[in-house]
């Protein structure tokens, strides 16, 4: 076998095994998207009802007042929560959300505030560490299948830092899962909670006999932090679904590329083989002719 043919065949084998891996990762990501989507769906009833309870409370008590709802008069530090993945091979997923995070950081700096980073996911941690940007907290190992307990832990940490005035505002950069085809890296303000989020449309019946146990203020003390935790959890779930969608897309593209490459390489291999055969026949014919010429002579 000719040297060229051997090289081409070896490359075909390499590309084929790569294709098998990317194809497997594509399938795994597909099944995880479905699960992640189900988790997003399953978390909705709670979030909706919690918001309703809060709106009711706000409506009944008139003007609600709570430290978590109030803009600080002279903010000096702004927390930025960045949700990235632990693993790569997800196309531009991490790059996009980090771009949004950077623009939030720039915006915060332009207002004269010091950004304080909270990073979820190895990719984000690596990104900021490489740039020498300090992080106040970092979490990893939860991005693909985020458990609720972790969301609660992260949420409580953020609320505590806000209460202790370690941060005066909090923004979150994460990826919104619109559909398997539309992922949007986005930024949202988590703290202080915008009062209109709590009061809702404001229309509704005020019941004179509305009961609260304990007092509305005390309930609010628990309701608002729970609301923040729920938002952190929702952002984690949306990001997990997005991560898997991005990974599936990236792996599908890689599989398709591998297929194209195999096609091209197979053609090259065939041509090399045919060339070899042609050369061989030419040699035989040439040899036979010269033999004939000798015997005739």
């Amino acid at each position: 076998m000719g040297a060229q043919l051997r090289i081409v065949r070896r490359r075909i084998r390499t590309v084929q095994s790569t294709k098998k891996i990317t194809r497997a990762m594509e399938l795994i990501a597909s099944s995880r998207i479905v699960k992640a989507q189900q988790r997003v769906e399953a978390s909705r009833p709670y979030a909706i009802q919690l918001t309703k309870a809060m709106e009711d409370l706000a409506r009944q008590t008139g003007a609600v007042q709570h430290p978590l709802l109030e803009d600080r008069e002279e903010p000096t530090k702004a927390g930025v929560l960045v949700l990235t993945s632990d693993r790569g091979l997800a196309g531009a997923y991490n790059a996009n959300v980090l771009k949004v995070a950077e623009s939030v950081i720039r915006e915060v700096r332009s207002r004269g505030l010091e950004p304080v980073l909270y990073t979820i996911g190895k990719k984000g941690i690596g990104y900021f560490r490489f740039r020498g940007i300090p992080m106040r907290e970092r979490w990893q190992g939860i991005s693909e299948v985020p458990p609720y307990e972790e969301a609660e832990r992260i949420g409580r940490t953020l609320i505590k830092d806000f209460a202790d005035e370690e941060i005066d505002e909090l923004y979150a950069a994460y990826t919104d899962f619109r559909s398997a085809f539309t992922l949007r890296a986005t930024a949202q303000r988590f703290l202080p909670i915008a009062p209109e989020e709590v009061t809702g449309k404001g229309l509704g019946v005020v019941h004179a006999e509305y009961l609260f146990e304990p007092e509305p203020d005390e309930i609010l003390d628990h309701l608002l932090p729970q609301y923040v935790v729920t938002k952190v959890y929702a952002a984690l779930l949306e990001s997990a679904a997005s991560e898997n969608a991005a990974r599936r897309r990236a792996m599908k593209a890689a599989t398709d590329n591998a297929e194209d490459l195999i096609k091209i390489l197979t053609r090259q291999a065939n041509r090399a083989r045919q060339d070899e055969i042609t050369t061989e026949i030419m040699e035989i014919v040439g040899g036979a002719e010269s033999m004939a010429a000798v015997s005739e002579g």
Binding site: R39, A42, S43, P45, Y46, A47, Q49, L50, K52, A53, D56, L57, Y148, A151, E152, H207, E209, Y210, L211, F212, E213, P214, P216, E218, I219, H222, L223, Q226, V229, T230, Y233
Partner: protein, 133 residues
């Protein structure tokens, strides 16, 4: 007249259906809700949740704190139990919880760790529920 009951946690809907009565454990004491109850918002402690289903049987569950919200619209009442975590009686693995509780008690001797305390309270609520049947 029945109540429309939904027991939800951030992770899933634990139970939903029609009921005649709901008894929950609030931080300021137990609350019982029948149809037509005034709108209500209660902060729940770790403890049992009892729901009398339409056929008269009681459905028991344990709630790890949260809120109970009663809203009345056009005469029909709706009860939403928003729990941080909740388990139906049938979902509780009693031997496992008992083991975990012993483990917690032995390690947390006198320790003032808030998280351990909460976990002990949660485990105790589960065992109390299974004992009461």
């Amino acid at each position: 007249m029945t109540l429309e009951v939904h027991v939800v946690t951030p992770e899933r809907e634990v139970w939903s259906g029609q009921a005649t009565e709901v008894i929950a454990h609030g931080v300021d004491g137990d609350v019982g809700i029948l149809s037509g109850h005034a709108p209500l918002l209660v902060h729940l402690a770790v403890g049992p949740l009892q729901i009398q289903v339409e056929d008269g049987t009681w459905l028991k569950a344990v709630v790890d704190g949260g809120f109970l919200h009663v809203s009345t619209e056009e005469g029909s009442s709706r009860v939403d139990v928003l729990a941080t975590n909740a388990q139906l009686e049938t979902e509780i693995d009693v031997p496992a919880v008992t083991r975990r509780l012993e483990e917690l008690r032995s390690t947390a001797d006198g320790a003032d760790d808030e998280r351990v305390k909460t976990e002990i309270a949660r485990a105790e609520a589960r065992i109390a529920l299974s004992d009461s049947r």
